[in-house]
């Protein structure tokens, strides 16, 4: 240390030698538990300090650190006493107002960012909540998360598998049919209506479907070589939509065929006719199904059933 000071032309009087040692001890004990020998060795091998430290002096430094608010614990590891700083005055603090602001921002952007970015934000939020020592605020911080009980690791894995269009077997707790294993050719994970969904083709009905991630209890199997699905029956429905081209927001499975003044001709394709029906019901009288005839007739029957539901009341 003295050599360093000489070389750097700073004299001993222009810095606090003990302050420097205290900073070294602080950083060592914050990093991980250290024994007296490990600290003494670090001091001896330090390029500037180059001298050991006695156990009594170390105690004085630790007392000083305690005095400024550090909590130092003595633990036994492999029959050796070690010291660690379990909390210190420089830890990250957060206020409830700051939590509210972060929550507001996250809620506002979640529907417009990529699912990978959602996973990134969730991992970041988890790290920060683990760093907060105030339990009440840490709990409040955890509530920023949109996972609501979903395991972050599982969501992250599902996103990875969907990227690879992998074939996986999940254990799914369905409210209607109970707990079942379902094999799926994964497609994507989406955050919709404040919930996370896994989309893909389920092997049980051989059609495209959505699965609430919160109902997936585990991923049981990942098939390295996915099966090529050849027996999937897809339906393409053509419909006319009264909407300006600038207002039209197509779904992933929709294709714009032509534009005629204020009418658009759109084709929607899926192996799940129920999904198509839901989409077209939502568009109401602004949409008219053109083909196929069978789907159109089913749609009209559904509308008649809906109407009948009101007159039966």
């Amino acid at each position: 240390m003295k050599e360093f000071l000489k070389n750097k032309t700073i004299t001993y009087n222009l810095m606090s030698f003990t302050g420097f040692k205290a900073l070294v001890i602080f950083s060592l004990l914050v990093e991980s538990p250290k024994s007296y020998n490990e600290i003494a060795d670090y001091f001896t091998n330090h390029p500037y300090l180059k001298e050991s430290i006695s156990i009594d002096t170390l105690r004085v430094y630790m007392n000083s650190l305690r005095r400024v608010g550090c909590e130092i614990k003595r633990i036994r590891e492999d029959k050796i006493s070690k010291y660690v700083i379990s909390s210190n005055p420089f830890e990250l603090n957060i206020t409830q107002n700051q939590i509210n602001s972060i929550s507001k921002i996250y809620k506002s952007i979640i529907k417009n960012i990529d699912i990978h970015e959602v996973v990134m934000i969730e991992k970041f939020l988890k790290k920060i909540s683990e760093n907060l020592k105030n339990e009440e605020l840490a709990e409040s911080f955890k509530k920023i998360s949109m996972l609501k009980g979903i395991r972050l690791n599982m969501l992250s894995e599902l996103v990875d598998y969907s990227d690879k269009k992998a074939q996986i077997k999940i254990n799914y707790n369905s409210p209607s049919s109970g707990v079942n294993d379902i094999e799926i050719l994964t497609d994507k994970v989406e955050y919709k209506n404040n919930k996370f969904y896994l989309y893909g083709t389920g092997f049980n009905y051989m059609q495209y479907g959505s699965f609430l991630v919160s109902r997936i209890t585990s991923i049981k199997e990942i098939k390295l070589r996915p099966v090529k699905l050849s027996n999937i029956k897809e339906t393409t429905v053509g419909y006319e939509y009264k909407c300006g081209i600038d207002r039209f927001i197509p779904e992933d499975n929709e294709k714009l065929i032509s534009v005629d003044e204020d009418k658009l001709l759109i084709e929607i394709t899926s192996s799940n006719e129920f999904f198509i029906q839901q989409r077209l019901l939502e568009l109401g009288p602004e949409c008219k199904i053109l083909y196929p005839e069978e789907f159109k007739n089913d749609f009209i029957s559904r509308l008649k059933d809906m109407k009948a539901g009101y007159y039966l009341e």
Partner: protein, 308 residues
């Protein structure tokens, strides 16, 4: 070096007290000098000399401190938080979202938190922060970044809670003028709507920001007690079992036929009707009567598209 029963080191305590003071944010030179003017066993020298001594110590240890306009700012804390480049990207995305907040407490709270976080970055992380910030600014083009001015304005209206007079283009392409109380901004996928309580009729209406032609803020305060229409509907079969209630919905439990009865208090009626249409014959509106009739009209209009 010793005081009372427990020995401690004065210089060490003073140095860490100085660091604690700096950790609170900007620190006035006067407060720092005051700290070093408190007499201790060892230090009898000039407080300015002691300050320089400690500043040198921190600098040699790698702790950076900036002095500007007689104020000190800690640039990196002795305590680091273990973050990685993915975390930096997450922070950059959240910061991009900050554009939606109007200037005010919400915004400054957010900025304050991230300032405190940044000083706890490792040296390596501090080096890569700038490159990530510039990449994300180019890459993140949220749909609503084009509307950021309007979003900030509307967030301000929601905070200030004055009545508004809005002219907007409705779904039938007609100009509509309403007097209303602002409720909140709702962020949908590729669409942001100002949710308002319309004075005439007491309904919640969601207006897409791009459809708003003008907003005039009136001097009158919005009604403190917002009474919107209560809608009750029942969900049947599979939907009754699978349905997850929205934040603004309440369950009234199951009826005799195991239908789920839902009470909704705070949703744009047109948006709600479209949503309930999706549920097909698994959903029936119970009350109010006018909305039940509106739903039947919507079903009839849709059916009329197929009249031969």
């Amino acid at each position: 070096m010793s005081k009372g029963n427990e020995k401690y080191n004065d210089s060490c305590v003073k140095l860490f007290e100085f660091l604690k003071l700096l950790s609170n944010g900007e620190t006035c030179y006067k407060d720092v000098i005051e700290l070093f003017s408190e007499k201790s066993d060892e230090e009898c020298s000039n407080p300015h000399v002691i300050l320089n001594k400690y500043l040198n110590t921190l600098k040699i240890f790698g702790i950076k401190i900036k002095k500007k306009n007689n104020k000190y700012y800690l640039l990196n804390s002795p305590y680091k938080i273990d973050l990685d480049s993915d975390d930096l990207k997450a922070i950059a995305i959240l910061k991009e979202g900050l554009n939606i907040l109007p200037n005010g407490k919400m915004r400054s709270n957010f900025e304050q938190f991230f300032r405190e976080l940044e000083i706890r970055y490792s040296e390596n992380l501090q080096n890569i922060t700038q490159s990530i910030d510039s990449i994300s600014a180019q890459r993140l083009s949220f749909y609503f970044s084009e509307l950021s001015e309007q979003i900030r304005e509307c967030e301000r209206y929601c905070q200030e809670q004055h009545k508004l007079e809005i002219i907007y283009v409705n779904s039938k392409n007609n100009d509509v003028q309403i007097t209303c109380s602002p409720v909140e901004l709702n962020y949908h996928k590729r669409k942001i709507c100002l949710s308002v309580l319309v004075q005439l009729g007491g309904n919640i209406t969601e207006i897409p920001l791009e459809n708003i032609k003008s907003i005039e803020q009136l001097p009158t305060l919005a009604n403190a007690q917002k009474l919107s229409t209560t809608i009750v509907y029942k969900l049947k079969n599979k939907l009754a079992k699978n349905y997850k209630l929205r934040d603004w919905e309440k369950s009234k439990g199951l009826d005799n036929e195991n239908n789920l009865i839902v009470v909704n208090n705070n949703e744009d009626l047109d948006v709600l009707l479209r949503r309930l249409m999706r549920y097909g014959n698994e959903c029936v509106i119970i009350s109010p009567k006018f909305l039940k009739e509106k739903m039947i009209e919507l079903i009839n209009d849709t059916l009329s598209m197929y009249d031969k």
